[in-house]
């Protein structure tokens, strides 16, 4: 991929972000609920008059026409000010940055867990196709992909937190012992999916002509697997891995809620419940940005790894 193309892609990312910001802004506006009342409702024992509500609405600029509100927001956003969160009484950017490390740690840990299991299992069951091992892996992964995240999370909590008491059931903070269960939950479900993916991809590569060619040249099976098949099989897997990781960086809402893990997914759900729309807007943009940046990185690495694309400058 040439530099010019990379700049072109970055330009696209900016355009898409603009579009997404407009659409989310509009959707939040259209959705029921009044952020001003929501803010004030926090202090139920204080009676607030309509005049005060209107004053606050005016102060926040929420009485202006929609398009002006959007342009106001955009003008500040390009300067790095994504507004103020009513819910946590902090600038949106600050709150995002505070939740980001937790999400990043969870994403890395669960991806690592996934890779450690899915790569060896997938490769081995492809090589030993139709063996007992292969059938066992296929059966288990079938269960794995069918289990919902939240159920798996609750079961793990019940077993390791309540019954065995090995791990804390109260989350809300980032530490190694609170990380284990959410990372395992996400990891198991992903590992099931990826084991199947790795198996399919490796099987597909094992049927390629170059494998027949290598056998006809008398290359050893381990050479064929490690030097020929796996490098080819990695190419499609990198794309998938990028998408999954991008997904995780946007926060794994369900799992984060089950374990009260203070990451972006948790924050996103809270901000929606409280109609804290500046914060919702910030999170949505962050998720979109992560997706697109990771996609770009995947495309660039794909180009570096596959000579066919590299040489053609695609």
């Amino acid at each position: 991929m040439k530099n010019k193309q990379i700049w072109g892609r970055i330009g696209q990312i900016v355009l898409v972000l603009l579009g997404i910001s407009f659409v989310t802004f509009a959707l939040v506006m259209l959705s029921p609920g009044d952020p001003v009342r929501q803010m004030i409702a926090g202090n139920e024992d204080i009676v607030v008059s309509q005049v005060e509500i209107d004053a606050l609405r005016h102060e926040l600029g929420l009485d202006k026409p929609f398009i002006f509100q959007y342009l106001d927001w955009l003008g500040r956003a390009v300067q790095g000010d994504f507004g103020f969160s009513y819910m946590v009484k902090k600038p949106v950017v600050e709150e995002l940055m505070q939740s980001l490390p937790a999400t990043l740690i969870l994403a890395l840990a669960s991806t690592l867990f996934m890779l450690v299991f899915s790569l060896p299992l997938g490769i081995y069951s492809a090589v030993k196709r139709n063996s007992v091992f292969d059938y066992a892996v296929r059966g288990l992964t079938f269960f794995g992909v069918s289990i919902p995240n939240f159920w798996m999370g609750l079961m793990l909590l019940w077993i390791f937190g309540l019954k065995l008491g090995w791990l804390p059931i109260v989350g809300g903070r980032v530490s190694l012992e609170t990380l284990i269960l959410p990372a395992t939950t996400l990891g198991i479900v992903m590992a099931a999916k990826y084991t199947r993916q790795v198996r399919t991809t490796v099987l597909e590569e094992l049927n390629q002509d170059y494998v027949v060619g290598a056998r006809a040249r008398g290359m050893s099976e381990s050479y064929i697997l490690w030097r020929e098949v796996l490098p080819n099989a990695m190419l499609p897997l990198i794309t998938l891995l990028g998408l999954s990781f991008g997904n995780l960086l946007g926060g794994a809402a369900v799992v984060e809620i089950v374990f009260s893990w203070p990451g972006l997914g948790y924050l996103a759900v809270q901000s929606i419940i409280y109609r804290d729309f500046q914060l919702v807007q910030g999170i949505v943009l962050w998720i979109a940005l992560m997706y697109m940046v990771i996609n770009l990185v995947v495309d660039i690495s794909y180009n570096r790894l596959d000579p066919r694309l590299r040489k053609e400058g695609r």
Binding site: D209, Y210, A214, R215, R217, E228, L305
Partner: protein, 263 residues
């Protein structure tokens, strides 16, 4: 007799693909197997290499090569023999090497697999010499190239260079010219004949082109529906075909300038 295939039966699962095939070949001879697609010709040479795809297996008969029965080979023995004593070129040899690695790396790895005692440098020099031998221009460049960067004819030359590296006694060629244009076909055919002359190797060439078969071979085997329907010296098959199918094949060769194009 270098190769003697007797009553060879090959099945995929329980389905018989080739039945009762007999082939005999001496050193320095070129034998063509002709027949339509699906007649089992490729399957036969794959069996001789011990690399039948999927669930294919030899279900009867013998393959005696250089005094030993190949069907008794262990996987280890197959690996030692393939690429050294018997080697193979394919319809598109470029597809038979890894698309995302340089030709040079793969060539060197191949040489070092069968000759672990030599250095990388020596392996490189040997690869260059082999590419030179098949009249490949700029062998250094070829070594640095990826398969997709070469033309069909050049890829086929790389295939022949790879195949001849260890001076095999038997070269198997699976439709080696079918994917090439006519000019390149002629070059590759001459190349294979040269290789036979130079290394005194026996060659089995699988083709559906009777013109190619009659141009280059000493013997011709005609296959139909998994069975050898006729076999013999080139002159006998071309001059005096006995089987109906052989006659049909001969009649199907296009007429150019008033004469059929297989003499």
């Amino acid at each position: 007799m270098l190769l003697k295939v007797t009553d060879l039966d090959i099945s995929y699962g329980s389905k018989a693909t080739v039945t009762g095939a007999n082939i005999e070949l001496k050193k320095g001879e070129i034998l063509s197997i002709v027949g339509e697609s699906g007649s089992g010709k490729t399957t036969v040479i794959r069996a001789i290499m011990g690399c039948l795809p999927g669930n294919g297996h030899v279900s009867g008969g013998n393959i005696i090569f250089d005094g030993r029965n190949l069907l008794d080979n262990t996987p280890q023995q197959w690996r030692e023999m393939c690429g050294t004593e018997i080697s193979m070129i394919f319809q598109d040899s470029g597809n038979m090497i890894n698309p995302i690695r340089r030709i040079g790396e793969q060539f060197i790895d191949y040489i070092l697999t069968h000759a672990p005692q030599i250095s990388r440098r020596e392996a490189y020099d040997l690869a260059i010499k082999m590419l030179d031998d098949v009249r490949m221009p700029n062998p250094d460049n070829v070594m640095r190239s990826y398969p997709f960067e070469l033309s069909g004819g050049m890829r086929q030359r790389v295939g022949i260079a790879l195949a001849m590296t260890f001076s095999p006694k038997l070269l198997l060629a699976d439709e080696p010219t079918s994917a090439l244009d006519v000019t390149t076909q002629a070059q590759i055919i001459r190349q294979i004949v040269d290789v036979r002359d130079e290394y005194n190797a026996a060659v089995i060439i699988v083709t559906h082109n009777l013109g190619v078969a009659s141009y280059m071979s000493n013997k011709i085997v005609v296959m139909q529906n998994g069975m050898v329907v006729e076999s013999g010296l080139r002159e006998e098959i071309i001059g005096d075909p006995q089987h109906e199918y052989t006659k049909e094949l001969l009649a199907a060769v296009p007429v150019v300038g008033g004469k059929r194009y297989y003499a």
